[in-house]
């Protein structure tokens, strides 16, 4: 009787060991499965995103109408401003030539649509409908017309995961446009970002614009990150930090541009 019980327990232990081993191996190999499964799921994701977009349009019809009127006025104003800027730009070009500066080429970008978002609250990411077959590679910078969005984290054949600016693992070398004060912008998993490592006597003011500093080769210099909304002092009292409102509304972004060169 005792022998039988021991045998049963032994068999149970062996089964438990094999099951644990199976789960452990599964945990290690699952990341490799992401790419093909996402490739299959991209169509239902596209359909769901499209339906959501259309439903949004119907539900917020009135809001959209009011916004359209407001934006039309803004477009008129911006058109006027663009004319002035073109003038400044041509003047800038002339002056650069005079200074024999190497003219920077504009970025080559690929447009992509957002088809999915983070699965939980612990990361901030989006899934886009362009992948390695369209020339997307891991580490490429993602922007929108408003400013910096994030970086490509994972690439499959026809989709890619983008780590957004407000993810905890993001860190971008940045500077305050007005005072050229440099710092490090990172995510907080909230709608705002934090800029750290600012000296105690740093020249930062509320409403200052923050751009990429180009200190790390990953991010080109001059990409708009956001504006300063709050300034504080670190616990140590040795440095300051500031809270930045991103230029891009990361929670409702629908289209992005990937800088490929």
């Amino acid at each position: 009787m005792n022998l039988h019980l021991n045998k049963f327990k032994k068999r149970q232990l062996i089964n438990f060991f094999y099951f644990s081993l199976f789960i452990f191996i599964l945990s290690l190999i699952i990341p490799a499965f992401r790419s093909p499964v996402l490739f299959i799921l991209r169509f239902p994701l596209k359909i769901l995103t499209f339906l959501g977009h259309e439903a949004n349009g119907i539900i917020f019809y009135h809001l959209n109408m009011v916004q359209k009127e407001k934006l039309t006025k803004e477009v008129e104003f911006l058109k006027q401003k663009l004319v002035n800027l073109e003038e400044v730009s041509s003047e800038n070009k002339r002056l650069k030539k005079l200074l024999s500066l190497k003219e920077e080429t504009s970025y080559k970008v690929i447009a992509a649509k957002v088809i999915g978002r983070s699965v939980d609250s612990w990361s901030s990411q989006i899934i886009i409908d362009k992948g390695s077959s369209q020339g997307i590679k891991e580490g490429l910078v993602v922007i929108s017309y408003a400013g910096l969005v994030g970086r490509i984290k994972e690439v499959s054949l026809s989709t890619a995961k983008v780590m957004l600016l407000n993810d905890l693992n993001m860190a971008v070398a940045a500077m305050v446009q007005r005072s050229r004060q440099e710092g490090l912008v990172s995510g907080t998993l909230s709608p705002n970002l934090i800029m750290r490592y600012l000296p105690k006597d740093s020249d930062v003011k509320i409403s200052d614009t923050v751009i990429t500093s180009g200190l790390t080769p990953l991010y080109p210099k001059g990409l708009l990150i956001g504006t300063v909304v709050q300034i504080g002092e670190e616990f140590s009292g040795l440095s300051r930090y500031c809270i930045i409102k991103p230029a891009v509304n990361l929670s409702s972004i629908e289209e992005v541009l990937i800088i490929i060169s």
Partner: protein
């Protein structure tokens, strides 16, 4: 005929699990409160562990963990082993406590969500070395646990309707 109907229902149920996971990464984004959204996949895990037999619950917990890991960016698929563990825990607890009332089920959801996030935090912090600041961790831990618990009765109702009507 009945066998075929049962098989179809099983396939339909798996399809519903996939659809809920797709909802999690699409429409649920607009339901974020303080940048936190409910974890519907975890609610489904609690439900299958309560209502199904142990083998089925185990297989479904692996499937749900797979779905969650699929859309995540973690270097190791942490959700599969954790989901198996929670499934076992819920299965054992639900056989000792009467879980018919939604309140008890919601309590299970809260407990599992809380434990899941704490364990995940420790694994990520100490094994993968991705540091999450403690204030951000506490904010998401508390808000997500409450939010998921509040939303869970909707899924309880849907689950009951699917299996008992």
């Amino acid at each position: 005929m009945i066998c075929l109907e049962k098989k179809l229902k099983k396939i339909l149920f798996l399809l519903i699990l996939v659809i809920v996971a797709l909802f999690q990464i699409t429409y649920l984004e607009s339901l974020r409160i303080f940048n936190v959204k409910p974890d519907l996949i975890l609610v489904l895990l609690v439900l299958v562990s309560i209502y199904f037999d142990f083998k089925k619950a185990l297989v479904l917990s692996i499937f749900l963990g797979f779905l969650k890991d699929l859309f995540g960016v973690d270097k190791i698929a942490l959700n599969i082993p954790l989901f198996v563990l929670w499934s076992y825990l819920v299965f054992k607890l639900s056989r000792k406590i009467i879980v018919e009332k939604n309140f008890i089920k919601a309590l299970f959801v809260f407990l599992i969500n809380f434990l899941h996030n704490i364990i995940r935090y420790f694994i990520i912090s100490f094994l993968i070395k991705d540091q999450i600041p403690i204030f951000i961790f506490l904010r998401i831990l508390i808000l997500e646990s409450f939010y998921t618990t509040l939303v869970s009765p909707l899924l309880f109702m849907g689950f009951k309707t699917f299996f008992y009507k």
